[in-house]
Amino acid sequence: MTRVLMPLAVLEGESVAYGLMDLLGTMDVTVLGYHVLPEQTPADQAREQYEERAVSGLEDTTEEFRKAGGAADYRLVFTHDRQQTIERVADEIGTRAYAINGATGDVNRLLVPLSGNVAVDRVLQFVTELVGDRDIAITLFLASESDGADGLLQRSAQRLRDDGIDVTTERVVSDRPFETLIEAVPNHDAVVVGEAAPSLSQFLLGDESERLAAASVGPVLVVRRETKEDGAEE
């Protein structure tokens, strides 16, 4: 099965929403317990004090993921830089996607934006595996500044329908694609996005998927860009 990384601020009492845990039932999950430290605290020093507590929390969460479906394990990292840790661990275990936690109940409908420069194939493949034979509907969403991307949207929808998934498409022409996307979030229980290529706006405004997660409140699954190792395999 495909593996998903589930980062969790384990010592801050963060827990995985029930609906997200259920949604990931078709996946193997690695729970990444992390604790971000201020710069003046060596990681080792924090480990000494908190390791036991963190491990016991992680074992509980991992057990719950096992009950929900796939094979689950955990890693515990003390770090000064959350994003660096997530990327390193995701690379090491070769995950297709990582989750951003958020509140949600039962997941019945997923929002899948195809806007921007994302690897559509990888996103669709992931969505198919995630949904499996469950009764989860998909909204494929595309917002752009100009006309002319309809072909992509229709092709993608057809591909998912071929796998027996209930798909709705939504097409918006807007000069503010990100804001339009946020407006589409209500009525959806979770979002699956492709990781955008690094860009200036990402540098200035922060990672788009993080902003999306913050604005939508619910969980976001981020399908990672193609990594070098993937390329070698294919």
């Binding site: 430290l37 201020p38 710069e39 003046q40 605290t41 060596p42 990681a43 080792d44 020093q45 924090a46 480990r47 000494e48 004090q49 390791e51 963190a54 491990v55 890693r75 515990l76 990292v77 003390f78 770090t79 000064h80 830089d81 660096q84 840790t85 390193r88």
Partner: protein, 470 residues
């Protein structure tokens, strides 16, 4: 490592040790990973940021007063010794890329007694150095107020230094978010100020622009003051060892540690030597000496008018602040390394639940720092800090020789000292020798602190064994 640490201190605590695997990006223990988050630029910023405060902005007046234009030679001697120690330190750090730096290498190479003396001395050495930076900051703050038209006189130097010392301690306890990024920015700004300033200064010194100055005798007071001045200004080069204390947090340590340590010594050394040369050429060593701790402001004014003076005041404030802050930060790491080995109570390295910072260790630094700052004795503070570090540096060289003599199996550094064994031998001898050229008062204080540290070991932790597989 065979020959694991063992034994107990009088409170029944034992050294903490666990098998770990070091990779380029993380340290992996049985249950957890410690992310390595510092890159080469972060390492260089720690080294340069700690070193650049004192040497350029506080010492020129004092050094020129003692040695004349030959003060440039004193700084060169300091740089060469620092480099001779930085190379062995790099080798040890790549073999043991862990938090703790010099203390860790010495305690594993030479045992718990030497480790205790050095561990406690390094902590107090940082305390003395921080107090020195703070007093330097006080002088610059008074000058800055003067520049703004508020003449307050030197009586406010110490109160300002104390106020900011308390402020920095508090800042470190409550968490300095993004301090490292800020530090990078400060270092970049300082380097640009200095490069412009020195570029102009060199043109002036060789007579291409500005008024010609009367040539001076290079060493008006003879060779001995050059050496005593080297001992005084060696405090300028204490920063490179701070890079080793964050070895556990540096990415790709085999490459980045040696580059950051040697690189920061070379960069800072060149800047110092050129600065002294420019300063003595621009205003002459007598005038420098009279201007004291903030002589560089006069040099700035002489070369570039009021704007030059302002740039130097700004640089001096930033540099002494960043040095003081970086040193306070390092003290808590020194305390942690020692307490992890049960040579200090484990309580000392507890982390504050609210802020995630080591508040006990920071407090153990902040108190004594304020006490020492209150003395206002710039030269003594600087020399005692140098004394305590020089002992550690000398012992680092000895530890390298000891480890290399019968190389234990775990010893596998990515970087090996070129010119072994000459470099560590000369580095060790030079470190110890420089101590002999200090003022008697500094020598006595430094010696008493070492004696006290040894006494503490015998009282508190005489059963603790730390020696590696030697």
């Amino acid at each position: 490592m065979s020959g694991e640490p063992s034994g107990q201190n009088i409170e029944g605590e034992s050294p903490v040790s666990e098998p770990v695997v070091e990779t380029d990006e993380a340290t992996v223990t049985e249950n957890a990973e410690l992310e390595r988050t510092l890159g080469l630029s972060g390492g260089l910023a720690i080294g340069i940021g700690t070193m650049i405060g004192a040497g350029i902005f506080v010492f020129p007046g004092l050094a020129a007063g003692r040695a004349g234009p030959a003060a440039a030679l004193s700084f060169t001697i300091g740089a060469v010794i620092a480099l001779l120690v930085a190379l062995p330190t790099s080798e040890l750090a790549t073999a043991m890329p862990k938090s703790g730096g010099g203390y860790y290498f010495i305690s594993r190479g030479l045992g718990a007694l030497a480790g205790s003396v050095v561990g406690l001395s390094l902590w107090l050495g940082l305390v003395f150095a921080t107090a020195f930076y703070l007093v330097g900051f006080g002088y610059y703050a008074v000058d800055a107020l003067g520049f703004l038209g508020i003449a307050v006189g030197e009586s406010l130097v110490i109160p300002i230094a104390l106020l900011f010392g308390a402020g920095f301690t508090l800042l470190n306890v409550t968490g300095t978010e993004n301090a490292a990024k800020l530090q990078n920015g400060v270092v970049a700004l300082l380097l640009s100020i200095l490069v412009v300033f020195l570029g102009f200064g060199i043109l002036d010194a060789v007579g291409l622009v500005g008024e010609p100055t009367t040539p001076e005798r290079f060493a008006p007071y003879g060779p001995f003051p050059i050496l005593t001045t080297a001992a005084l200004v060696f405090t300028s080069y204490l920063g490179f060892a701070q890079v080793a204390t964050v070895a556990g947090e540096m990415k790709d340590p085999g490459r980045n540690l040696p580059l950051a340590m040697v690189g920061s010594v070379v960069i800072v050394g060149v800047l110092y030597v050129v600065t002294i040369f420019v300063a003595t050429s621009a205003v002459g060593s007598n005038a420098l000496s009279l201007a004291g701790e903030t002589a560089m402001v006069d040099v700035g004014r002489e070369l570039l008018g009021p704007a030059g003076g302002f740039a130097i005041i700004l640089g001096g404030l930033l540099a002494t602040m960043s040095s003081a802050n970086a040193s306070i930060l390092s003290t808590s790491r020194a305390v942690y390394a020692v307490s992890k080995d049960a040579l200090l109570p484990g309580r000392a390295s507890r982390i504050n639940l609210k802020y995630g910072t080591p508040h006990v260790a920071l407090g153990m630094a902040g108190g004594p720092i304020l006490l020492l700052t209150a003395t206002g004795r710039v030269e003594v503070l600087a020399e005692v800090a140098s004394f305590l570090h020089l002992v550690a540096y000398g012992l680092i060289c000895v530890a390298l020789l000891a480890l290399r003599r019968d190389e234990p199996e775990w010893y596998d550094p990515d970087f090996r000292v070129p010119g072994y064994p000459v470099v560590p031998i000369v580095g060790g001898v030079a470190s110890f020798a420089l101590i002999l050229f200090m003022q008697p008062l500094s020598q006595v204080l430094g010696f008493l602190i070492m004696l006290g540290s040894a006494g503490w070991y015998f009282y508190y932790a005489r059963d603790v064994k730390l020696k590696g597989a030697l």
